[in-house]
Symmetry: C2
Subunit: 431 residues, 2 copies
């Protein structure tokens, strides 16, 4: 393929006419497609349907410590759920508190608690003139929305192939006491799909923050969410809590996980992993906040998955559904955009997203164009703080929800939209 | 029975010797009994065991609006759950948001949100020098704990047989702009077991607060939790949201309910009822806080109870279990303490508690004495803000958890403890 920029004005206009005809054709189909969110497909819900039978009225509903899961009691989670999610998080069960159905809610509450009560006795953030969070971008819009909601200043940190730009992170964290946290999706990151390198993790563990209440918000949402079964085709992430302990920095990290994309998205179990001191701080507020989370659902998860082997086996079923979808999109991008030099994209080996970078100033127009033909993409800019992508080029592609047939058409619409918008930009430049 | 105060010193000493012997006898049994918390008994969990079969892998897991309950989506609750809990709360489904498993968590979040974001655009409470909450007392310790946790000043309001002292409430609410809320358990109240009179509810609805962000926290935890099946033996509570609307005061109240003591205490569904404006305010933060609560559990509740008739029928089963327990305690109190003039107690027709008032300055000693013989009571003072009962006389009795046999012994221990501590006090007075 000849790169678009190398085409003459006439060649581009000719190409545009062909593409416009194709676009009108697909638009006429009046489709409704959605690649906007990392939402599992129905087939992924169906493979977990055994969850619904894991407990019934004949089941022993006592947990290992003898407590009846139906009743009040057990604030921080039943032992077997701590064991299972501890294994999932690669930490001892003792370093874990089980929460409700949403790790987002847990992260929200963690920021909220810091606002009203500080961290381990520090000044509550609501009493400070300025609080900042570092936001490796492109990143997860709902993370950035939490800190924005609390009036915290979100600071963009560029993402490199190894993770966040650690030179910049170290500089800001060590010199600016108003920097209180950093949002991270360290494995199969949202939306890039990359995994932080060992060096990046170690540099995180060795941070020397100016603020005693600085914390790394380590959202390991896709820890076991590989697309390929062979270990050599899977990413590996260094376990951070252990590295922080080794570095003499045990309190610096909160690690979040959930089964939202393992069992059922709306009815999973979330958990936080941290040092004992941090967990005690959390427990102090949990004791006031609730009598306890849903233990029956915790028990349901343990009875269904049994152990990490069971969970990994289940994740391979997810992978079997997701892999062809990712490959369909990636193939479509490669086949239709390869060599045109109007976009770059990532090729993740896990997680829920492909990240696409268009020519500068084109992302919003591409998303709008796709919408004309009935394809909903994540809002352009959403992957940056305040929804503002400085280059207006990043687009998050979420291939999980549509069927493979829908994905083929969705990719076609997306590719046409990228081409049409890019041609307009290049034509403008040539004027 | 002769009142203790009318006995001579010798009569009292003789009585004391007899009681001490009885106390030693029961103490020697080395019992472990718990009347400290309003925790349902196992028999109450068992009657709801059909919950565990309400859904299985063959069930249609779509809600009425066609959404798959297993997946993400539906922030404010599935329509059929809003209908059922709306009926339970006596309000239209539109005035309701369904939450997670804990109404306490919902109340905590409501206060927390007011701290960081204010109420409908008012100044966040964390920016104010002073925020006060009115605490009708004796009341629910976990309510008071929430406001205490946020550094809010808890102000005692005396409880009358008709509900809180409304003269005092009206005076404080209408003149002091730092008064931002009041905690209420309006029906079968915790711990008194009384229900607010129509006049009290109407006076609440017509409050004219000095603070625009003043709210009534109306925790209708025991709305359908009658001990008797006949309507003439049940308390009636005027529905407050409708009365507030009529009074031109629609935004003044948040109403909370949950199924914690209907289905399973740890795995129920909680909800908030309020004006549309208040709910919109809540939704704004919910959108940031979570992708949604557990819809499968919402569906499970609707499939199990079907409608309010189903729920009422289920509550009659609870009543059949609880009623004899309440009666056993009340009989024991009447039989052993009647006429002695060393204590007064309430005779509730619903809810989870009996409230006992000892002679002044005796409650802590009675609870400590009971503990000597292996009976755990709610900590004396717990029913007042900061755990400080100014008269040291209120003790909350929770008869739900022990078996009837255990309750008989527990009441015996309690009664002995009351008598022994009271005799000491009267002897001291006579010196």
């Amino acid at each position: 393929m000849k790169a678009y920029r190398e085409m003459s004005r006439d060649e581009l206009l000719q190409e545009k006419r062909v593409l416009e005809a194709q676009f009108e054709e697909v638009k006429a189909k009046d489709l409704k497609l959605d690649m906007s969110r990392g939402k599992p497909a129905q087939a992924q819900l169906d493979i977990a349907n055994g969850m619904m039978d894991a407990l019934n009225s004949e089941s022993d509903l006592k947990c290992e410590s003898g407590i009846d899961c139906r009743n009040y009691g057990v604030l921080t989670g039943i032992p077997e759920a701590k064991k299972l999610l501890g294994d999932m998080s690669e930490v001892p069960a003792d370093n874990m508190i089980i929460y409700g159905n949403s790790s987002l809610n847990l992260m929200f509450d963690t920021v909220s608690r810091s606002m009203t009560h500080g961290v381990l006795g520090s000044t509550p953030w609501c009493k400070l003139d300025k609080v900042k969070f570092l936001c490796p971008s492109p990143g997860y819009d709902r993370h950035f929305a939490i800190t924005e909601y609390f009036g915290i200043e979100n600071v963009i940190i560029p993402m490199l192939p190894t993770g966040p730009d650690m030179d910049m992170v170290e500089e800001l964290v060590s010199t600016d006491p108003s920097v209180k946290g950093i949002w991270c999706v360290p494995k199969y990151s949202n939306p890039l799909g990359i995994t932080f390198s060992d060096e990046t993790v170690l540099r995180f563990a060795h941070l020397k923050p100016a603020a005693e209440d600085f914390r790394i918000y380590w959202d390991n949402a896709y820890s076991i969410h590989h697309l390929y079964d062979e270990p050599e085709n899977q990413d590996f992430l260094l376990e951070i809590l252990g590295e922080c302990v080794k570095a003499g920095n045990p309190d610096i990290v909160y690690k979040f996980i959930s089964t939202s994309k393992v069992s059922f998205p709306g009815s999973g179990v979330a958990a936080i992993t941290a040092s004992k001191r941090n967990l005690q701080d959390l427990e102090k507020s949990m004791t006031i906040q609730t009598i306890g989370h849903d233990k029956v659902n915790q028990l349901r998860h343990v009875r269904f998955f049994k152990d990490m082997d069971g969970m990994h086996a289940h994740m391979r079923k997810h992978a079997a559904i997701l892999r062809p979808k990712f490959e369909a999109v990636l193939d479509g991008l490669e086949k239709n955009l390869g060599g045109l030099e109007i976009g770059q994209w990532t090729k993740p080996r896990g997680g829920y997203f492909i990240s696409f970078d268009s020519l500068e100033g084109c992302a919003k127009k591409i998303v709008a164009k796709a919408k004309e033909a009935g394809l909903i993409m994540t809002k352009a800019g959403a992957t940056f703080p305040y929804g503002k992508d400085p280059k207006d080029s990043n687009i998050r592609i979420a291939p999980s929800y549509p069927t493979p047939e829908e994905l083929a058409i969705a990719t076609e619409i997306f590719v046409l939209s990228v081409k049409l918008v890019s041609i307009d930009k290049i034509l403008e430049e040539k004027e």
